[in-house]
């Protein structure tokens, strides 16, 4: 590789015209370290100079572009170069003459269109969601009449994936939350000498509210995102189309097993997580307040009506159903590119958590007179 050089200046022989003499390899690799310097030097000389390119050993399209721009896209009057170099520059000249179409600039009208599209998009999401839910109902009606077609293996596999494999992390999070909640409550309760109310607080709080919501957030992040990504990648790799071509319903084979598995698995996960969280609370209460395990377990059923457990489990089932539906809805909307995959996976998790919290609020209002003292 020969280093590129350029020397521009007034030479005695050529009258008033400055002369630019280029030598060496004018290639991207050779020019890259000093591209700015050459760009300025050539631009200063401009198209009017006398150009001597005879010393150039190699010229690639980047070098040619540099020259062509320095010449303000016109051939200089005084150019000394062999045919090969002229051909390379000529190619750039030919394509630069008909520029690529520009992406349209963003205008005020576009802003209004974007806003409108977002609103219509929301309506579109709603319609798509209702359609998916309706299709599932039809599928279930069909499967009730043809019990042999239930995708039992898929349901079982999904159940294992979203349920059984989530138990360790659910237990860890539940235990720690139980410990922290109990510790903080104990500090306050001791000030009032109301130590034994720790059982009421932990029991009601965890069984009715914290357990289901905690598990939902965990599952939405863990399994919801996985479901969306899986369906999305199946779209990208045309597996969804392959299924359709074989006449296999994607809702029966892909969506239904996920929805059923998560609806069944969530109450169990809620039960498991609540139990571990209560255990964590119990340990903390024992350490902080010297409250024995036996006393705790004895008091719990008396102060927390069993209705709370049913509410917690029902919430779990409904949350599971909605997380799976939302995840599948977004998964099926993925278009075959990576950007769409990431957008939809993000939207899936955010929407699932939002929906869960909205439903939780509805539950809180609907069950306000059930299972609470007073």
């Amino acid at each position: 590789m020969r280093a590129p050089t350029a020397s521009c200046g007034l030479s005695a022989g050529s009258g008033a015209r400055p002369e630019c003499r280029l030598e060496g390899d004018w290639t991207l690799r050779a020019l890259a370290p000093r591209a700015d310097e050459f760009r300025r030097l050539l631009a200063r000389a401009g198209q009017g100079a006398s150009w001597k390119l005879d010393g150039v050993t190699r010229l690639d399209s980047f070098g040619a572009t540099l020259l062509w721009h320095a010449w303000r896209e016109q051939w200089p009057e005084d150019l000394s170069a062999d045919d090969e170099l002229r051909a390379v520059i000529g190619r750039i000249a030919a394509t630069a003459a008909e520029p690529l179409p520009e992406a349209r600039a963003f205008t005020l009208t576009d802003a209004i269109v974007v806003l409108g599209a977002a609103l219509l998009g929301f309506a579109n999401h709603l319609a798509g969601f209702v359609r998916l839910a309706g299709q599932l109902c039809l599928d279930i009606a069909y499967l009730l009449r043809h019990p042999g077609d239930w995708p039992l293996r898929e349901i079982s596999a999904n159940f294992y994936k979203v349920g059984a494999k989530a138990t360790p992390v659910a237990a860890l999070v539940g235990f720690l939350i139980g410990v922290v909640l109990s510790y903080l409550s104990a500090l306050q309760l001791r000030a009032f000498g109301a130590d034994i109310y720790i059982v009421n607080i932990l029991g009601l709080g965890i069984v009715r509210e914290l357990g289901p919501v905690l598990v939902s957030v965990l599952v939405a992040g863990r399994s919801g995102s996985a479901m969306t990504a899986q369906l999305g990648v199946m779209r990208v790799t045309e597996e969804l189309d392959a299924l359709s071509a074989m006449g296999i319903s994607r809702t029966v084979r892909l969506v239904l097993p996920k929805v059923v598995a998560l609806t069944v698995a969530m109450p169990l996960l809620v039960l498991w997580t609540s139990a571990v969280a209560l255990f964590g609370g119990m340990v903390s209460a024992w350490v902080q307040l010297d409250l024995g395990f036996g006393f705790f377990l004895d008091t719990l059923p008396r102060v927390v009506p069993v209705a709370n457990l049913y509410i917690g489990l029902a919430k779990g089932a409904v949350f599971g159903l909605s997380i799976a539906l939302v995840a599948c809805h977004f998964g099926l909307r993925v278009r075959p590119n990576t950007e769409s995959l990431s957008t939809n996976t993000t939207a899936s998790v955010v929407s699932a958590i939002t929906v869960v919290i909205l439903i939780d609020a509805v539950f809180a209002i609907a069950t306000r007179s059930i299972g609470v003292p007073g």
Partner: protein, 259 residues
């Protein structure tokens, strides 16, 4: 520039678990050659190509590009070395979130020395080089046909003015017409840009039309490395079925007739 071989493989051994894929491969590709790497399914052609690019490292042996070991020198030197070759992946590997023009301009933008206006002109030139209309510039990869994907991917591989071009199954998935046109395109670009080309292929038409030398990968090593004519005369079951089968004879006759 030195006359060191563009690619030099010495004693390459590759293992996947207990499966020995390459057992002592030596290969050297000189400047300006077009080498076709052929071999049966699972003979490790693509793996060998990935060794050359540095995507995988052999268990033993050394890969040298442009006379220097592939992984020698500082990070900066290694990056500079990687910019001297372009790769056309089997499925194009276009960035699906970027449009055609952005895909081709991407490597140039990453250099941080080329101005946006220069990038625009260079992208237009590369598009013209691979014989695509300027109007394709704004299309997304998902909107392209198989042949167009290959062309855009080739344009992107050429963006950094490489000296070496590696093609992985350049004509797989194209119909015979498009495949012939694509081969013609690669050949004219090779002559115009004085490229060294290494291609992995199954397609005997591609091989016959493009390659100056053929390397046959069989029995875990390079069985032969010679010109097309010499390779044809080789007495080996793979060569017999690959070249002297019905298809092979016809393809070679076709390409002889053309040139």
């Amino acid at each position: 520039m030195s006359d060191a071989p563009v690619i030099e493989l010495r004693g390459i051994v590759t293992r996947f678990g207990s499966n020995l894929v390459h057992d002592g491969i030596d290969l050297s590709v000189a400047r300006g050659e077009v080498v076709a790497l052929v071999g049966g399914s699972g003979s490790g052609k693509t793996t060998l190509l990935r060794h050359m690019i540095g995507l995988t490292r052999p268990a033993r042996g050394e890969v040298s590009l442009f006379g220097e070991p592939l992984f020698s020198g500082s990070l900066r030197e290694q990056r500079a070395r990687r910019r001297r070759f372009g790769v056309l992946f089997q499925h194009g590997a276009l960035f699906s979130a970027l449009n055609v023009a952005e895909n081709i301009g991407f490597p140039l933008r990453e250099l941080h020395v080329v101005t946006p206006k220069e990038i625009r002109d260079l992208v237009a030139l590369k598009l013209a080089m691979v014989e695509l209309e300027p109007s394709t510039a704004l299309l997304m990869p998902a909107e392209l046909s198989g042949g167009m994907v290959k062309r855009v991917a080739l344009a992107r591989a050429l963006a950094l003015e490489p000296e070496l071009l590696l093609l992985d199954e350049p004509t797989a998935g194209l119909d015979p017409d498009r495949s012939a046109a694509f081969v013609e395109l690669v050949r004219s670009l090779q002559a115009q840009l004085e490229l060294t080309v290494v291609l992995v292929t199954h397609d005997i038409d591609t091989l016959a039309a493009l390659s100056s030398k053929v390397a046959i990968l069989a029995e875990r090593r390079i069985l032969s490395y010679a010109s097309q004519e010499k390779t044809m005369e080789l007495d080996h079951p793979f060569v017999a079925s690959f070249f002297r089968g019905e298809f092979g004879r016809r393809a070679i006759a076709r390409s002889r007739g053309k040139t």
